[in-house]
């Protein structure tokens, strides 16, 4: 059973990830007083897209086709590193979060190159913005992980989250709070949520992530959508593990609580999207710098203790 | 043999004034140089009985040393430099004179027409200069040394004024007057030296001066050194007495510049080293060493200041000579192991600089200008010259493997061993500036696209001009790759003559 557990966790995450956007959409619809899309809309979309015949621009090369594949593969691999409810996944080692960070980088790189391969002005614009925000997001994310490592004295994801207990919250509450805030801001930006981006926008000029994938279709687009869902899961799981360091000892109990937490986070994103307006594009870096400041403060607090 | 060494060029020089045929005179020059070199080799070889191949061939019977002229390792070293350089210079001069005959005339920068001096005078003075120089290296009497050094000045004046036009005349005049004044001061110094030994009755012979240095009157000896230093320093080209040097080096024909920088300056250096040795034996090493180091550094600084933004490539070489004189003076002043380095640097500098001046003559012939900014893409017009020019740059800036590099390294090491950190720091700083200043010039001249001038004929790179330059540069590289044991022991012996050690 102990060998199967990590695989089960992995499969659960892989299967449940597309549910998160659905939750967000429902929350948003609730705030807007609409009925909203079905909770499983993304699953329907994926199934439909996988059956479709894609259209390719004559400009594109294999890079365009490889982009979604690489992105999705990188994110699935990242998922294999991710602890589930504070328990290690089947791929866990010292410094695995660095690997995770760079897998995210690989996904981004592949997407950006695929976007540039279309030769479209809009997709180039999106690629440029994506890279710009990454430059601010990565140090913030890094700082957050650094303070987490400092708090727990561990250097693997499972180690860090395993070492986080309720007691940690009582001794290092400000640090963890700042961290959570920072991670949440990074989550919003990295997953192109409001206020950094608006996944539902229809004006290409203002889009970031969505504009990069304008030209993709069919299974490729399915890979992209699935990858995006995984990414959201990934960040949410990081935050969830930080906020919820309670280990009851029961795997099933912990897992259930963790899943609840994940959907709670998705709901929180939905709330934020409903009550906050989108930032001007030029202000997004400031948001990420704020995230950086939060995690830097967290680290300073921790080092000063 | 020592006498023959001096008399051969003397007789040949006098004969050169009388010979009518250009061809005969040129071969006289060439063969005298070769003969002199052979004799010099024999004399140097005789110094190493059993130690060298030559000594085995020639009977190693030591000559009875006359009171006036005799050789010690220091003298032999400078004799070797002079003779070797003259060998190359003679080869170069013969080719040069033959070529100059064909197209005499137009000044490179001024554009005016001028005549060259009669070839007989030029050749004669060259040979007499060699004779005087040989005598300088052998001289064992400080007064005689003075007279001979002054003789080299006077004999080289007509050489500088080979191209008879305004600017070379100006250069000659400055050279003549400044050096004469300097040498006059050196005479004062000799008088003080004599006075210092009056009580103990030492006189001006080198041997008793060295052995009886302890009995010399210290304050007078100090005064003697100051005057001799300023006097010979003027001739050697130490800053701030160097002012004639860029003019004379740049205005004279390449072969003369090579001899001036390679041979004449070493004559004055020899004078300083001799008196320095006397002072060192009298226990004044700190006093004289300090001055040598101070003015050596000042020379390096001066050279660096004028190297930046230099507009004339022969003047650039002249300032580089000042730099090296400074380095040599520093090495001699630091004493100990640095003396070896200084002598090695002197030897290497003479060869490299002669090679560079020879090459500059080729460039002048190819481009008809001495302005750096007017020479571009030498690579295209004269590829072999360009190679030599670039190789000379690397060697003169002390790029290993070369004798110049080893000299600098040894001097720097000694400075650091003596904990002269500020000195070493300043030395490095200005060497760096010099490197940058020279790099700019050499790159901009050698490379780039060249616009041919209207009506220009292809340039013929004569082997007789290239070969001596190439040979000298190769020798210096070899010295950096393999410094033969006999040369090391000659250098060490010479260093021991003036209080140094390895």
């Amino acid at each position: 059973m102990e060998i199967v557990k990590p695989l089960l966790q992995f499969l659960a995450a892989a299967l449940l990830a597309p549910l998160l956007p659905g939750v967000i959409n429902r929350v948003k619809a609730f705030f807007a007083g609409r009925k909203g899309r079905p909770l499983l809309q993304l699953y329907y979309d994926l199934a439909k897209l996988l059956r479709k015949t894609p259209v390719y621009s004559r400009t594109t090369t294999w890079v365009f086709r490889a982009g979604p594949l690489l992105g999705a593969a990188a994110l699935v691999t990242a998922l294999a590193l991710l602890p589930f409810a504070g328990r290690p996944s089947f791929l866990s080692f010292d410094g695995d979060f660095i690997f995770l960070l760079y897998l995210l980088g690989l996904a981004r790189f592949a997407t950006v190159l695929a976007a540039l391969d279309t030769g479209s002005a809009f997709e180039g614009m999106g690629a440029s913005r994506e890279m710009q925000f990454a430059v601010f997001a990565e140090p913030a994310f890094f700082m957050g992980l650094a303070s987490l490592a400092r708090v727990t004295g561990q250097t693997s994801l499972a180690g860090m989250f395993g070492a986080l207990t309720g007691g940690t919250w009582s001794t290092a509450a400000p640090v963890l709070a700042l961290l959570t805030a920072s991670f949440f801001l990074v989550l919003l930006a990295e997953n192109s949520r409001v206020p950094a981006d608006d996944p539902d926008t229809h004006l290409e000029l203002t889009m970031i992530h969505e504009v990069m994938v304008l030209d993709h279709s069919g299974p490729d687009l399915a890979y992209i959508l699935y990858g995006a869902a995984l990414k959201l899961w990934l960040f949410a799981a990081l935050i969830g593990s930080t906020v919820l360091p309670r280990h009851s000892g029961s795997w099933a109990g912990d897992s259930a609580l963790f899943l609840l937490m994940m959907f709670g986070l998705a709901a929180a994103v939905g709330v934020v999207e409903s009550v906050i307006a989108r930032l001007r594009l030029t202000k997004v870096p400031y948001m990420l710098i704020t995230a950086f400041a939060f995690s830097a403060l967290a680290l300073i607090f921790q080092m000063g203790r | 043999m020592t006498t023959a060494l001096m008399l051969l060029p003397l007789a040949a020089g006098l004969a050169a004034f009388l010979i009518r045929s250009d061809a005969a005179r040129r071969s006289l020059l060439l063969w005298t140089a070769r003969g002199h070199f052979l004799l010099a080799v024999l004399v140097i070889g005789a110094y190493f009985p059993g130690g060298s191949l030559i000594a085995a061939v020639v009977s190693p019977v030591p000559e009875p040393s006359s009171p006036w002229f005799a050789y010690d390792p220091l003298g032999l070293l400078f004799l070797g430099i002079a003779s070797l350089l003259f060998l190359g210079a003679a080869q170069y001069a013969v080719t040069y004179l033959a070529a100059e005959k064909r197209d005499p005339g137009e000044d490179a920068d001024g554009g005016f027409i001028f005549n060259n001096a009669p070839e007989a005078v030029f050749t004669g003075c060259l040979l007499l200069f060699l004779s005087a120089m040989t005598a300088v290296t052998a001289s064992r009497h400080m007064g005689l040394l003075w007279a001979l050094i002054e003789a080299t000045t006077l004999l080289s004046a007509p050489l500088i004024y080979f191209h008879r036009h305004k600017r070379s005349l100006e250069a000659t005049w400055k050279y003549l007057l400044i050096c004469s004044v300097g040498i006059a001061l050196a005479l004062m110094g000799n008088l003080f030296l004599g006075a210092a030994g009056l009580k103990s009755g030492v006189g001006l012979d080198l041997a008793p001066l060295l052995s009886g240095a302890g009995a010399l009157d210290k304050p007078l000896l100090k005064a003697a050194f100051l005057f001799l230093f300023v006097g010979y320093g003027t001739k050697m080209g130490l800053s701030p007495f160097h002012t004639w040097l860029p003019d004379a080096y740049s205005e004279s024909p390449a072969v003369v510049s090579a001899l001036l920088s390679g041979v004449l300056s070493t004559a004055a250096l020899l004078g300083i080293l001799r008196v320095n040795a006397v002072c060192a034996s009298a226990g004044l090493a700190d006093f004289t060493g300090g001055l040598l180091v101070l003015f050596g550094l000042l020379s390096v600084i001066t050279a660096a200041l004028f190297m930046l933004g230099q507009r004339d490539y022969k003047r650039m070489l002249a300032y580089s000579s000042i730099e090296h004189m400074g380095i040599i003076a520093m090495g001699a002043g630091l004493g100990g192991g640095a003396v070896f380095g200084a002598l090695l640097a002197a030897l290497s500098h003479s060869l490299v600089k002669a090679g560079l001046f020879f090459t500059s003559g080729l460039i002048l012939a190819a481009e008809k200008t001495r302005r750096i900014s007017d020479v571009k893409g030498l690579w295209r017009r004269a590829p072999r010259t360009a190679v030599l020019w670039l190789a000379g740059f690397f060697l003169i800036t002390g790029t290993p493997p070369s004798g110049v590099f080893l000299g600098k390294l040894i001097i720097l090491r000694e400075a650091l061993a003596l904990k002269q950190y500020w000195l070493a720091g300043a030395f490095l700083l200005f060497l760096g500036l010099l490197f940058g200043g020279m790099a700019r010039v050499f790159i901009s001249m050698t490379f780039g696209e060249r616009v041919p001038k209207p009506g220009e004929r292809p340039f013929e790179e004569r082997a007789g001009l290239l070969a001596p330059a190439a040979a000298f540069l190769v020798l210096v590289v070899l010295a950096g790759l393999y410094l033969p044991a006999w040369l090391q022991s000659l250098l060490a012996g010479a260093a021991a003559n003036i209080g140094g050690k390895l």
Partner: protein
């Protein structure tokens, strides 16, 4: 050791032959290339052997040069640096045989090959010399040979300027090294490394500073980097590959050796290295993003990577002084591993850039585009190199950075300064990594993807077979050495033990084995996922014929290649943000009418350090020199006055 000498002899023979055959460019090419390849093969054997066995091979012959001796020392550290030297120069020679063909008759190829082989020989000499005189001979030969290669296209003003900067930096650096060696060996009989006295206190710090600047000028970290982005792009591409890939590493090698000569380290050395490294990895990455020429992008990326290596060294020094051998060991191992990895991927990238230059006739990013269609293999190899350079899995760039990160994170658990050093290092790595990703996606995207922006790019042709072979081999090596991380730990460990002593090496080996294995497993998972995804995609697409069409441009009817995002526009948000550092010059369109017919936008990267630090200083110094130029006034009276006044002053002072 004898094989190393054999390879030296082969290289020198090759260069002599290339010179002799200079009249026949084809045969000169062959001679140069064959001998270089043979020398590489001969040299790889002992280098690898020493790395595997950990046994040092030495050879000492007397040398009739004062202070010199022909002492060679092939210890694991030297061998570790030799492996990439031989690998890259061998492959570069193969590449060059194709690349330089087009220059036959236009350029002196014999000379170029001779210089290339001398450059290789000089690097081998530098890495194996155990005597300072011998070392300096190699060091300066290396500078001189590469100087000639930088001047390969000396008709271009830019090349000459680059060569001037390059040789000046080299000259000044050599002087500083000379001083460092002289200081180390000031009381020994010869300048053999083994005889160096171990200085202490201020003298040790002086040696360190001299070495830092001397070697730093070769390695090219900030602020000693100004020559690098000028010189590396100017040389023929396979030489750029060698210069950026391995030659600058000799500076790193020298720094490591120097640290070995100094038994007692000061903490501030570590901080200095850390600061210089952090600054140069950030500044290198940022400037790389702002460049408009492919080879300049790569040159700045070299500055970034050298910065990473130096930063790791600094981290290691700080850590080992503060008693954390694990962290120090990881940092040192990471630095060494990155040395190897960078040489592979930077060599590949420069060769790719060379293929672009060769195929399209220009490497100006704004003139390229769509090359992926016309030179697909080059594009694939270049992308692999770019991914390595961004440290993206599963390529090798990740492994070295991973170890450094790991060291940094281990430091976080430590109290005191080590933790701070770890934070600085990790943070710089993260930021530089993001910037590098932006820079490389921009460079690769603009050059190879989209539509061709000019006629030249549209008519580009694929590189020759030998060029493709070299690039392919390097790309494969990048992938394999990425996967083989755990196996590389042994050679890295022996090299690190030779350089920094056993404890940190052992500590690193112990704490890095498991994570590296994890990373390798992760790489395999990733590859498996990719394969799985690809197969699934095939399955989904079975029986379907994808439609071809225009790129969707939001309804615009007549898209042209000029509407593409260019290199400038791609970088603009970031470069604008960092404008205070980058100081790009150029103009924004000022739109005054309602329907503007035309607008222009241009941004040009500047050599900021050169323009705002070095040039003003140089101008100031020249101005100062000119102020003293009245000394050589021309008046005889004045000249004689100098003599008199000096004499009088001397008499007054000394008597």
């Amino acid at each position: 050791m004898l094989l190393v000498l054999l390879s030296l002899a082969l290289l020198l023979a090759g260069s002599a032959l290339a010179l002799l055959l200079a009249r026949n460019p084809g045969r000169a090419q062959d001679a140069g290339a064959y001998y270089a390849v043979a020398a590489s093969l001969a040299g790889l054997v002992p280098a690898v052997r020493v790395l595997l066995t950990g046994e040092t091979e030495t050879l000492a012959l007397p040398w009739s040069v004062p202070l010199g001796s022909l002492s060679f020392n092939l210890d694991p550290l030297a061998a570790f640096f030799l492996v990439p030297v031989f690998l890259l120069t061998g492959l570069a020679a193969v590449y060059g045989a194709d690349y330089l063909k087009g220059y036959a008759g236009k350029k002196p190829l014999g000379l170029a090959w001779a210089a290339f082989n001398v450059l290789t020989a000089a690097m081998v000499l530098v890495l194996t010399a155990a005597n300072a005189v011998l070392f300096m001979v190699g060091w300066e030969l290396m500078a001189a040979a590469s100087f000639l290669l930088v001047l390969f296209e000396h008709e271009r003003e830019q090349s000459r300027r680059a060569a001037f900067l390059y040789i000046s930096a080299g000259g000044v650096g050599a002087l500083l090294l000379l001083a460092a060696f002289a200081l180390l060996g000031r009381s020994s009989a010869s300048l053999d490394f083994a005889l160096f006295s171990a200085p202490a206190g201020a003298a040790a710090s002086a040696v360190f500073l001299l070495g830092l600047f001397g070697f730093g000028l070769k390695a090219g970290f900030v602020p000693l980097h100004v020559w690098l982005p000028e010189a590396h792009p100017a040389a023929p591409s396979q030489v750029s590959a060698v210069m950026s890939g391995v030659m600058i590493k000799t500076g790193i090698y020298g720094l490591i050796r120097l640290l070995g000569f100094l038994p007692v380290w000061e903490e501030w050395w570590g901080w200095t290295l850390l600061a210089a490294g952090a600054a140069s990895c950030l500044i290198g990455a940022l400037f790389s993003l702002a460049q408009h020429e492919l080879k300049r992008v790569l040159a700045y990326s070299s500055i970034e990577n050298i910065g990473i290596i130096v930063m790791a060294l600094g981290l290691g020094v700080v850590a080992s002084i503060n008693g954390s051998p694990v962290m120090a060991g990881l940092a040192f191992a990471g630095a060494l591993l990155h040395v190897l990895n960078h040489s592979l991927f930077k060599g590949l990238l420069f060769m790719g850039a060379g293929a672009v230059l060769h195929g399209a006739g220009t490497a100006e990013l704004e003139a390229l585009g769509g090359l992926g269609k016309r030179m697909p293999r080059t594009a694939a190899f270049f992308l692999a190199g770019a991914a390595s350079a961004c440290a993206l899995p599963p390529f090798n760039g990740f492994a070295g950075e991973f170890l450094i990160y790991l060291g940094a994170f281990k430091a976080l658990g430590q109290p005191g300064p080590a933790g701070l050093a770890g934070v600085i290092a990790g943070l710089s790595l993260a930021a530089a990594g993001a910037l590098a990703a932006a820079a490389f996606s921009r460079a690769a995207g603009t050059a190879f993807l989209g539509e061709p922006r000019t006629e030249m790019a549209a008519r580009a042709h694929e590189a020759g077979p030998l060029m493709l072979f070299s690039m392919g081999a390097l790309a494969l090596l990048c992938l394999l050495s990425g996967l083989a991380g755990p196996f590389l730990l042994l050679p890295v460990g022996t090299a690190s033990a030779a350089a920094f002593g056993l404890p940190p090496a052992l500590a690193a080996a112990a704490s890095a084995a498991q994570p590296l294995a994890g990373v390798a497993a992760g790489f395999l998972v990733l590859l498996a996922m990719i394969a799985f995804g690809a197969v699934k995609r095939k399955v989904f697409l079975r029986g379907k014929t994808p439609a071809q069409g225009l790129t969707w441009d939001c309804g615009y009817a007549a898209p042209t290649a000029r509407m593409q995002y260019g290199a400038s526009s791609f970088a603009q948000p970031l470069t604008d943000f960092f404008q205070p550092v980058l100081r790009k010059i150029g103009q924004y369109p000022v739109i005054t009418e309602y329907f503007p017919a035309r607008a222009s936008f241009s941004r040009e990267a500047q050599a900021v350090f050169y323009n705002s630090v070095y040039r003003p200083v140089a101008v100031r110094i020249r101005d100062l020199a000119y102020r003293f130029s009245w000394i050589q006034h021309g008046r005889l009276q004045l000249y004689i006055l100098y003599i008199v006044v000096t004499l009088i002053l001397l008499l007054l002072w000394k008597l």
